[in-house]
């Protein structure tokens, strides 16, 4: 598996391979074909950042541009899934969820339960999230806590090209509705990715670094901040275990709890907001289920309770960085190592 491709290419490859394998897989969203008018044109956009490029020329009947009507087409994904397709719908930015959330959380997420088990809604919503490209308050949010809160949804947050491919293939083959979060800053991240199709099961965390002093849990782009902080801290003699849950729902509680049982210390790093967010969720898990092991306060590292600002200076202050993570770790680890 020496081949190196980008996070974006990994996603594209997962889609292409699954479409080849299963004729029930259809891809639609705004501009996912992109310039359908241009006669099988290889230059068709393939999504606003080119993530779906090449799919429409290969599958002209199963890659569809949509009107800017998220409720209608995300709802159509739910209806199509109910009737036997495996739609992969794109919600361009997760920030747009507010115009179509009903079809996600009241329809797709609840069919199986409301209908007494007699439904299956195998659909994927791919969506971009996260700050870092100066896209301001309405194009930079993280928002996966809002989906994680909802029973019936699965929520996937890959941090690497390898995970992006394996988790997306799993998402497409999964029989429940899955929200697949792609961090726009990670699209160009390179990594080793097998050419063949493979799946990564949901609810299995990845241990990104091993360590015995402090457990750091992080998701998505923050995994890289955490790993960077762990490297810095290793040089200072503090061993950090960095855990990437990879999916927030289901959440691999066991791996997190086991680690904290060992380290006695927890830092949660997350790009979603502090109130009712993922950092709080994981802190609460540990405070209720591994309290006996805790030897220091839990630390959470998140953006402040503010919208995402535009100006680079402000946005950089908004997004948690490796320095803040390291500082949080030191604030609970240092005492013992002195």
């Amino acid at each position: 598996m020496a081949r190196t491709i980008s996070y974006q290419q990994a996603i594209n490859e997962a889609l292409a391979q699954e479409m080849r394998r299963d004729p029930a897989v259809v891809v639609f969203g705004e501009d996912v074909a992109g310039g359908m008018g241009t006669e099988q044109d290889k230059d068709a956009w393939g999504g606003v950042l080119g993530v779906t490029k090449g799919l429409w020329p290969e599958f002209p009947d199963r890659v569809l541009d949509t009107p800017i009507s998220e409720s209608a087409y995300i709802g159509a994904a739910a209806g199509a899934a109910s009737a036997g397709l495996r739609p992969v719908a794109e919600l361009m930015f997760v920030d747009f969820m507010g115009v179509c959330f009903d079809q996600i959380f009241n329809q797709a997420a609840k069919f199986k339960y409301m209908f007494g088990g007699k439904a299956k809604t195998p659909m994927v919503i791919r969506t971009m999230y996260g700050a870092g490209i100066r896209a301001a308050s309405q194009h930079s949010q993280t928002l996966y806590p809002l989906f994680t809160h909802i029973p019936g949804l699965k929520v996937v947050v890959p941090a690497t090209p390898y995970d992006a491919k394996g988790l997306l293939i799993q998402a497409i083959r999964d029989d429940d509705p899955v929200i697949f979060f792609e961090h726009k800053v990670l699209y160009t991240l390179q990594g080793e990715v097998p050419e063949e199709a493979y799946t990564i099961p949901f609810g299995e965390a990845e241990i990104v670094r091993e360590g015995d002093d402090v457990t750091i849990v992080a998701l998505g782009r923050m995994v890289h901040m955490a790993a960077q902080a762990a490297d810095t801290l290793a040089a200072e003699g503090v061993g950090c275990e960095v855990i990437d849950p990879r999916t927030t729902s289901p959440l691999d509680e066991e791996t997190i709890l086991e680690s904290v049982e060992r380290t006695g210390r927890l830092v949660v790093v997350d790009e979603s907001g502090p109130r009712c967010g993922m950092a709080a969720d994981i802190a609460s898990l540990v405070a209720t289920r591994a309290f006996g092991a805790l030897r220091a306060p839990i630390r959470t590292v998140t953006p402040p309770h503010t919208p995402v600002p535009f100006s680079p200076v402000l946005e950089d202050a908004y997004v948690p960085g490796a320095a803040r993570v390291a500082e949080a770790v030191r604030s609970i680890a240092v005492k013992e190592s002195v």
């Binding site: 036997g84 079809q103 339960y113």
Partner: protein, 331 residues
Amino acid sequence: MRTDLHVSGRALAKEDLLRHYRVMRTIREFEERLHLEFATGEIPGFVHLYAGEEAIAAGFCANLRDDDYIASTHRGHGHAIAKGCDVKGMMAEIYGKATGICHGKGGSMHIADLAVGMLGANGIVGGGPPLVCGVGLKARVTGTDQVAVSFTGDGGSNQGTFLESLNLAAVWRLPVVFVVENNGYAESTAPRFHQSGIDVAKRADGFGLPGVVVDGHDFFAVYEAAREAIERARAGGGPSLIECKVLRYYGHFEGDQQSYREPGEVENARATKDCLLLFERSTVNAGIVGEDELRAIDKQVLALIDEAVAEAKQAPDPVPADLLTDVYVSY
């Protein structure tokens, strides 16, 4: 005695007519009985009755196959019965029982059975139209000739989801029919306060699909409009919007005092426009069916509903452990 009735030059065979009558009578009896039972306090939650609108559900579903789909509203009993949901399972569901069609998890507002193409009643006004677009897409992509029909109220026709769906279905040329049941009220609000005195069907023009208005009390008018739209959709001719003007007999939900009604409104409709009455008059007058045949059906239906209620009342509740099942296929 004749054996068929001609509607726009097509024959409706007697056995079909009796079948359609049975559907309408079953809905009516189901709803009238729920009205009585609800008043006893034994039925949990909200119940929205469909009585008065039976010709619409029956007229559309008469033109649908088992592998076609419908998506319904909060007022879904009629659609569910017409599409073939099990009546006893529905009744048990409304009573919240383990034997219910959704095992007691859904209740009146979520009755569904995908096995007969019933995509669910829906507690969200405007929830259904996007769903049928998806079914239409499935038919298109897999090359079947399935059709999907959504039902929406006059009130629901103001929801963005409905309006967006008209456009999406037109752009994608989907085999879908949007039915608007304009029953004169959205809860307590009459159409003159929620739209501007214009037929909902007219909205179709701006999106590029045909829109027509029919009398929702007249089974044959509905049947014919439905047939045309469904056949067109099945043949690849794209979506349609059909507005059915009708009056509902009961309040928005059971318990509604209906202070917003004109006096005599319902009594008048029951006496002069009732769909069962009109159906009986045309079929009996045309000499195709006998009154006795209809009365025989009435009796069978009554017995069915009696049984359904009795069984529902005696059926076991779900067990508390059921709370945790059916959230995911796997988790």
